[in-house]
């Protein structure tokens, strides 16, 4: 079960640790196929948490609506409770008053969990980077897997980000676990 997403070249995916682990885990053929099946299942049914702070939240809602439906990518339903969610799409600005809440939500999510930073504000502070009350990028609080730039990013951009996350999940191995973040 190889990686078959066309848009980004395999060589450009710069996470060396994961790639090395993938190469190492080419051992027992039964485990590799099982890995493939498990990862295929996991990457095609990512369920996010309902979390949107500002404008990017509206584009996230538009991505879930009828025109750019993301249920066809496996994001079937939004879970209201962090205990039941796989991914948290941080859509919107994070400020110091909200940061502890975000950290607590992230800690409440069970492993394996992923984070997509959507929008310029979550990636690096965005248009408000010179303010006195801003967190310059959500990766100062929680580790981020995929960054989707834009202000706000188009729904197609968010879908591309989700596809990259799917690709990342497929590279994981259920039996040779990655180091905990």
């Amino acid at each position: 079960m190889g990686v078959k997403i066309k848009s980004m070249k395999y060589e450009d995916f710069e996470d060396n640790e994961t790639l090395e682990l993938f190469k190492q885990s080419g051992g027992n053929i039964l485990f590799t196929t099982l890995d493939g099946i498990i990862n295929w299942g996991r990457s095609n049914s990512i369920w996010p948490l309902t979390f949107a702070t500002s404008c990017c939240g509206i584009e996230m809602m538009a991505t879930g609506a009828a025109r750019h439906d993301f249920a066809r990518f496996g994001i079937e339903v939004y879970r209201a409770s962090p205990r039941q969610a796989d991914v948290i799409v941080v859509a919107g600005t994070i400020v110091p008053k909200m940061a502890p809440v975000l950290k607590r939500l992230y800690d409440q999510m069970p492993d394996p969990k992923y984070v997509i930073a959507m929008g310029a504000c979550a990636v690096s502070g965005g248009p408000f980077v010179n303010s006195y009350h801003i967190v310059k990028g959500v990766d100062k609080i929680i580790p981020v897997d995929v960054y989707v730039p834009g202000c706000p990013p188009r729904p197609e951009a968010l879908l591309y980000g989700v596809m990259q996350l799917q690709r990342k999940i497929k590279l994981e191995s259920a039996f040779n676990k990655k180091k905990d973040k």
Partner: protein, 373 residues
């Protein structure tokens, strides 16, 4: 006999519950601390500031053209209208006369924005009450307006299309045909919305008689926009202090007197129809002319104070600029409609159940980044 006493004692306990900041129904990051007795709400205390980005302080070190990009992101669902407030304030201060073409285009864009905002309100209101179909219907039709915006301005949600002196770019040649098509389409769709939600017995049970706000309370709490007009407070800035091309069009100010959730709901549905009437009156006769007036590259407002009011989709948005003759404002205050509307939530929610609180909050239609600025 003994059992009765025990049940009574258990009922007397008042508990304090936290709703938010991460909650599917609070429409953003708002924390509500509820004091409950059983399921009846005794007190609602909103805690804001979870998206406070310090915009007012940032404006003191930015030029007026840069401030346009920040006001967009306040109430992002009325992005054009908020931009218009700053542009009008600057143009009035510098006594720059914009062309008729600019005024008419700004009016049409504002009204399209109002319809798009009310569509999003309708879909999230239905979703809060449990009717998920409304979510898909509303957003499907909103995409058509966003297509029109994208052709002319380049972006769907945050456009920054107005600038002091006029517009950033001229209209796309397809604009008129697309807008006329949209209006024809949407006039057929609005009765579908009514069939789905307005006449729905569940919605009417949950909305009629809930969240009462009298006219005096609305004026005292400063509740404007469709929420205030649902209580009979005639506060439409387009009628009382006209701007853009609103003095040339005929439209009704939609007023209702009941002051409950259902009245606020119906005001917004009727406002969508009025907006379409306004667009129809203007779309065929967009005058020719310049799309931007000649302005100096560095804008310095003369010393003094300027206040501009516009009717955003949620209420009266105001911009108060104190200028000392520099290229940055000395103090810029943004009067946000949602901040005043939120202060009436406590009054309206007392005595109702938690589920009704969600419906009342939905009918007030607040957007949190506008509250926190």
């Amino acid at each position: 006999m003994a059992e009765e006493i025990i049940i009574k004692e258990a009922d007397e306990q008042e508990i304090s519950i936290n709703m938010g900041p991460q909650h599917p129904s609070t429409h953003g990051v708002l924390r509500l601390v509820l004091s409950l007795k059983g399921e009846i709400v005794n007190k609602v205390e909103p805690h804001c500031g979870y998206i406070h980005r310090g915009i007012e302080k940032m404006t003191e070190s930015m030029t007026y053209q840069q401030i346009i990009h920040l006001t967009d992101r306040l109430d992002y669902l009325s992005a054009h209208i908020n931009n218009g407030a700053v542009c009008l304030a600057v143009e009035k201060a510098l006594e720059v006369e914009v062309s008729e073409r600019v005024k008419v285009i700004r009016t049409i864009m504002d009204e399209l924005n109002r319809i798009a905002s009310h569509q999003l309100w309708w879909c999230s209101f239905g979703m809060d009450l449990g009717g998920l179909t409304c979510f898909f219907y509303g957003l499907r039709d909103r995409e058509k307006i966003l297509d029109i915006f994208e052709e002319t301005t380049g972006s769907r949600l945050i456009q920054s299309y107005y600038c002091p002196g006029g517009l950033m770019a001229d209209l796309h040649p397809n604009f008129q045909t697309k807008v006329k098509e949209f209006i024809k389409y949407f006039r057929k769709i609005l009765p579908e919305y009514d069939e789905l939600l307005s006449g729905n017995i569940i919605m009417m049970e949950r909305a009629i008689g809930m969240g009462l706000l009298t006219k005096e309370q609305a004026i005292s709490y400063g509740v404007t926009g469709p929420s205030g007009r649902g209580s009979g407070f005639s506060c439409d800035v387009r009628k009382h202090h006209p701007y853009h091309a609103y003095d040339k069009v005929k439209f009704n100010e939609v007023l209702r007197t009941e002051g409950d959730t259902y009245a606020r709901y119906m005001v917004r549905m009727d406002e969508m129809r009025e907006s379409m009437n306004i667009i129809e009156q203007l779309i065929d006769n967009i005058p020719e002319g310049d799309y931007v007036a000649k302005m100096k590259p560095v804008i310095k407002l003369p010393e003094g104070e300027y206040y501009q009011r516009v009717e955003a989709a949620r209420g009266e948005f105001g911009v108060y600029i104190i200028s000392k003759g520099e290229k940055n404002p000395y103090r810029m205050k943004l009067r946000s409609p949602n901040f005043s509307n939120l202060s009436s939530l406590d009054l309206m929610a007392r005595g109702n159940k938690i589920a009704d609180l969600v419906a009342i909050g939905g009918s007030l239609d607040y957007v949190i980044p506008d509250i926190d600025r």
